[in-house]
Symmetry: C2
Subunit: 417 residues, 2 copies
């Protein structure tokens, strides 16, 4: 089954906001076995919306539309859809209830304009948007499905999960889809592909394999599709079991999307705590870990020691070390990691110091020279990274390298992780 | 002049990577006075590429294409473009030199496959990609311009700035465009619009005004367009001058894109230093500030005090305060901000403590209850924020609130900022 996504909104065409909806919907549809053929971003323009609705319903089985459902006059998606399907608008009672509930909760008075959001075309199935005032709408025409969703990302995601995906699976009788993600680390995509070629060829027909390279890792996604759920689960389990011995030393985790998720899984499984001392990454390690709910279960906290003064005062780095070897040195990163592990009374600690760029380098230590360290009670692992001169990328890659080294060390020292 | 953007790549359609190129190119084109009509994301499929090339060259004056220029066999954009223009490929000497230079720098040997990247259609102008191996290509057909760029974001941005935008401006003789951004804070878009309505109506015809609301602020963008550069500059200067008295207390900065940029401008102008103590924001304040080059000029560093232990040990928060009022309290945030200002020997400090969610709330302190503080030598400003239960949004909004309060305080205490 093919799908097309249409994102509507003038604000998307001036680049004011990054359009994340197209990618997020693509990922959700793909994970349920629907292929996304193309995505369009167009303005709040009735003629264009109509034209692309025609175009997409001809080419795809499913059309997902986002945006243009607000109560103001520039938002014309609903009216245009209503005309397209030759329907008329009516006040949907359930939608109105939902809008009233939301206004009450926020302590605002319901205006006439907001009440209009409860009006939907008669020919659609209203999809109740519990997180916002613009309802979703499900249309069917010539065996095609057209869905209209609000453009606010979290409202859209909630409606996709709660309403759209289950209905699509039922409508197209698409059977079961089981996904299994295995995160591979420390080996490039092409080497990995050579290493598991044999295994890949032995997979049953019902299982598809995808390589999804991401910053610092490769996600292998196994997708099983069919009507016998128990059988699919068994096939996935067996495929996973036979894969493990082949790449065991590179497996960083399962069913995670990012390295910080794997760090969280690993630390929690090991029942150990963590602290960070960051210079060139400037708090990004800490920020990435604490973006995930439940971080306080294992993360004690950390120090962003941007100045030498803070390195000395909060981490106990010796002024002598800083003077002799410089802030960007193996000696300093060792003292940073030791210092924070002790101060934070943590089982493990990580530290970074380097020249993130774009300026500040010297002949001996050019921009992109970065020392990282990972420490446990028993040992300290240090590593010298040499990146280029783009600041954002240097910070990102340093974080990934730290997460990788940490996962490795915690795994090595804790059988249960 | 209208433009359309086509992003090519199967990886975009499975949602593996967020497509930021469409938004970034839209923003760049808009800032130079070109209107983006629509954007398309399609797969690595020759037939589709051809079809949308036809479609877009009919509808737009400019078509910008990204992606599908890699050396592997799935990347078919170049071949398809060559066929579309009825041209033939040849080895471009300058492109080859560039590729050789990059391989030499990275210490890799040049393979036959990589050498193929120097081949471009005869009918195009090769745009030299100094940051990567896939050259950009500039085509002209029936007064339309079609540009093909690599999909790697930083390579694309560099080519847009260095090659594409100047050529577009020259080709379409589009005159001068002068943009002026004024950042407004602490007032909503609709109130602002009422407040400056009179001023807006008095603007000369050559100046266009756009409201660009963003997290925690509204960016007002004045765009002047015409052929007399000096006159445009004068008009922009006058418009800005007359705007200031009307909204003076809400102006946070000029010619910046984000709040952290304004923080950096303000701190540097004031010649003061800053430190941070973060609990619920988990290092995000620190990470956002240090993403910008030159942060070390004013940012001493900070502490992510996720555990009570670290709040006591590194920030000097009294165990008594924590026991009596709890970690999420005005008393604690005051001691945090005082503690970090002293430890980091900084002129200013900020602190956050709260329940980011989605769980961890109580009846008295529900999820989204967050205390922030900003301190100088003379005073401490605290503020209680009450947000919802979405973690990522709570962190983001807390950071913005902290940046706003900090900018206000530094401005109030330093005439020159």
């Amino acid at each position: 089954m093919n799908a097309t996504i249409i994102n509507i909104g003038d604000e998307l065409l001036i680049g004011q906001v990054i359009n994340t909806n197209a990618s997020v919907i693509s990922q959700m549809l793909t994970s349920k076995g629907f292929d996304v053929k193309e995505t369009f971003t167009i303005g709040d323009n009735a003629e264009e919306i109509r034209m692309y609705l025609e175009h997409c319903t001809e080419r795809s089985d499913i059309v997902i539309i986002t945006g243009g459902l607000g109560p103001t006059k520039d938002d014309i998606t609903k009216k245009t859809l209503c005309d397209f399907f030759g329907s008329e608008l009516y006040e949907n009672e359930k939608a109105l209830c939902n809008i009233k509930r939301i206004f009450e909760k926020r302590g605002y008075e319901l205006t006439e304009t907001n009440r209009l959001q409860a009006w939907v075309p008669r020919c659609c199935t209203m999809l109740n948007n519990t997180l916002g005032t613009a309802p979703g709408m499900w249309f069917e025409k010539n065996e095609k499905v057209i869905v209209s969703l609000p453009g606010v990302p979290f409202e859209m995601v909630n409606l996709m999960e709660a309403e759209v995906l289950p209905r699509l699976q039922k409508h197209f009788n698409s059977g079961f889809i089981i996904n299994k993600n295995i995160i591979i680390q420390g080996i490039g995509e092409s080497f990995l592909s050579d290493m598991i070629e044999h295994w890949e060829l032995s997979l049953p027909k019902s299982i598809r394999l995808a390589y999804l390279p991401q910053a610092g890792m490769v996600k292998l996604r196994l997708t099983a599709r069919g009507n016998d759920k128990a059988k699919l689960e068994q096939e996935i389990a067996e495929a996973t079991k036979t894969l493990y011995p082949i790449v065991s030393q590179y497996i960083a985790g399962e069913d995670a999307e990012t390295l910080p998720e794997i760090v969280a899984q690993t630390m929690k499984k090991a029942g150990k705590t963590l602290a960070s001392a960051e210079s060139c990454t400037g708090g990004s390690i800490s920020a990435k870990l604490t973006q995930l709910a439940g971080a306080s279960e294992y993360f004690n906290g950390g120090v962003t020691a941007y100045s030498n003064n803070l390195k000395e005062k909060l981490l106990g780095v010796s002024p002598n070390t800083l003077a002799t070897y410089g802030a960007v040195s193996e000696e300093t990163v060792r003292e940073m990691v030791t210092g924070i592990r002790e101060k934070a009374a943590a089982d493990y600690a990580v530290a970074t110091t380097g020249i993130a760029g774009p300026s500040g380098g010297t002949a001996e230590k050019p921009v992109g020279t970065i020392w990282i360290a990972v420490a446990s009670e028993k040992q300290i692992v240090t590593k010298l990274l040499r990146f280029g001169d783009r600041r954002a990328q240097n910070i990102e890659r340093t974080c990934n390298a730290v997460f990788s080294e940490l996962i490795k060390l915690v795994r090595a020292e804790n059988a249960e992780a």
